[in-house]
């Protein structure tokens, strides 16, 4: 019996695992191999030369790498922080909504699934200095949102907060709705104020959901590409360039795929650290 289950299980998962290994895991290992080589695709015929850790050393000692790294982290944490605060408030409002909760939830969900390229394009129109909605509605004169370093950073962060907030809102709303009633009744009997019951009952009970939401979002914002591509393509003067955009420029504009692969593995190390936290928290919840 045990043996048949074993064989049956493996028969069902083997095709999936085989495909994933073939189209993803092996190519990824290959990229580790080429990260130790100089490989310039723009030269024909292209040569592959062993350079050891040179590609990694070049990144880690370049000012550009650290500038991009700094912005990627600034961007990631601003977006995750901003969309968490707004998402939490919206989830609490939706939980409390006396009417039309389904309608509001559905409407507020829409930005999340929107094609990022289209989202970036419409925000680009809204940021237009002369006739864009942001300057027009708020009477801000002719701020060139995407043209200046500081405002371009704010602009890409704001746009992504708009797209990412619904994700956090949906998860936290589901978390709030599945909380047990008893602790709140007990807090009420003990004479806890609303704030106290939120601070000492709701938040601790919601914490596992909050952790999952924050970790997924951190991993996703860290890889930002599409929206920034359309809004600024990393400009002005590289101020809004993320690691993904820098990697694209190195690998597919300069065709230095060895350097690009090395940058990929540096990104992977950061992602692995972030995901390890996520998987650990998920695992603990499943236990």
């Amino acid at each position: 019996m045990r043996d048949t289950a074993e064989r049956f299980g493996w028969a069902l998962v083997a095709p999936t695992l085989a495909v994933m290994v073939l189209i993803l895991a092996l190519p990824l290992l290959f990229s580790l191999y080429i990260s130790f080589h100089r490989w310039d695709l723009s030269v024909v015929p292209s040569r592959i030369d062993w350079v050891g850790l040179d590609n990694y050393r070049e990144h880690l000692t370049s000012a550009e790498f650290w500038r991009v790294m700094r912005f990627t982290f600034l961007y990631t944490f601003s977006v995750v922080g901003g969309s968490f605060l707004i998402g939490l408030v919206l989830a609490l409002l939706l939980k409390r909504a006396p009417v039309a909760r389904g309608f509001f939830t559905a409407m507020l969900t829409l930005p999340m699934m929107m094609t990022p390229i289209v989202a970036g394009l419409v925000w680009r129109l809204m940021y237009n200095p002369t006739y864009g909605a942001i300057n027009q509605i708020f009477g801000l004169g002719q701020i060139s949102w995407l043209g200046e370093v500081r405002t371009a950073m704010i602009a890409v962060i704001l746009t992504t907060i708009w797209q990412s907030t619904p994700f956090i809102m949906i998860l936290l709303l589901a978390g709030l709705q599945s909380l047990p009633e008893e602790p709140f009744e007990a807090a009420l009997i003990d004479g806890a104020s609303r704030w106290q019951s939120f601070r000492h009952v709701t938040l601790p009970l919601l914490m596992p959901t909050i952790m999952v939401a924050l970790l997924i979002r951190t991993i996703f914002e860290f890889r930002a590409f599409d929206v920034i591509w359309i809004l600024t393509t990393g400009g002005p003067a590289g101020a809004t360039e993320t690691l993904s955009l820098l990697n694209f420029r190195i690998s597919f504009r300069h065709f230095a795929v060895g350097e690009g692969a090395a940058l990929s593995w540096l990104m992977l190390i950061v992602t692995i650290v972030l995901s390890a936290g996520f998987i650990a928290s998920l695992y603990r919840r499943n236990q």
Partner: protein, 303 residues
Amino acid sequence: MPTQPPAQPMPHAATAARRRVSRRQRRRLEDALTVLALIVATVIFFFPIYTILSVSFKAPIDIMATPIKWFFRPTLDNYLALIGLRPSEFQFDLPLHFRNSLIVGGGSTLLSLILGTPAAYAFARVRFRGQNASLLFLLALRMLPPITTVIPLFLLMRNLRLLDTQLALILAYTTFNLPFIVWMLRSFFLDLPQELEEASWIDGATRWQGFSRVILPLSAPGLVASAIFSLMLSWNDFIFAVILTSRKAPTLPMLIAGFTTEMGVSWGIMMAAGSVVVLPVLLFTLFVQRYLVMGLTSGAVKG
């Protein structure tokens, strides 16, 4: 018979009643404020979507009007230009992009469902060695930033002479659709009662029959929902498309991104194209609202 003197409890009852009224009033006020806040939030969050739709029906002069023209005479010119019935300053091939998006999204979703559904069932219902490790392996692959996987994929497709083909994108999208579908369907199967298959085994069904004849038909809603998510993931992708395709197999986001490189002032036609890309996604999102939580935690958003 002496009646109870009502004078004594009266004041008490009155204050209690008054307190109750004021509490009810406060409650109503809070209800009103909650709804008001939600309306404000909805207006803000919906505004960019409204902009796409409204600008797609505006004439150029109304788009660039200051202050914003909230009321304008709608025109279909932008949509006519998009389908080639009016001249436009852009060079593009909408049917090509549309066809590619459909074929690539559909192909990858189909492939992921065929491979992933039995795997998801095994992860949910069968006990075998290496189960947890395999499941975590799939989750870990889902966490990789696309740029890190697309570089080796590009080199692989280049060697196989598959660059700029639909097959290249179908395989590339399967790298994120397949793990997603396994995780999503697994949680779906976990929610079905185990007794269903056990009853069929007693009737002499094999394990495979228990899955294919009992569980699979019951999972239709889950299969449809995860297929829709998977279609949206492919439909929305840009990074794989921009790297793996150019002239023959570009998808709809490539068409949109192409507009920005020759940046004229034709916001109208760009937003008309944007509406065509985004409307099916928005409708599908409303359609799968019930499964959003399950989908999101399985990775239904490709950041």
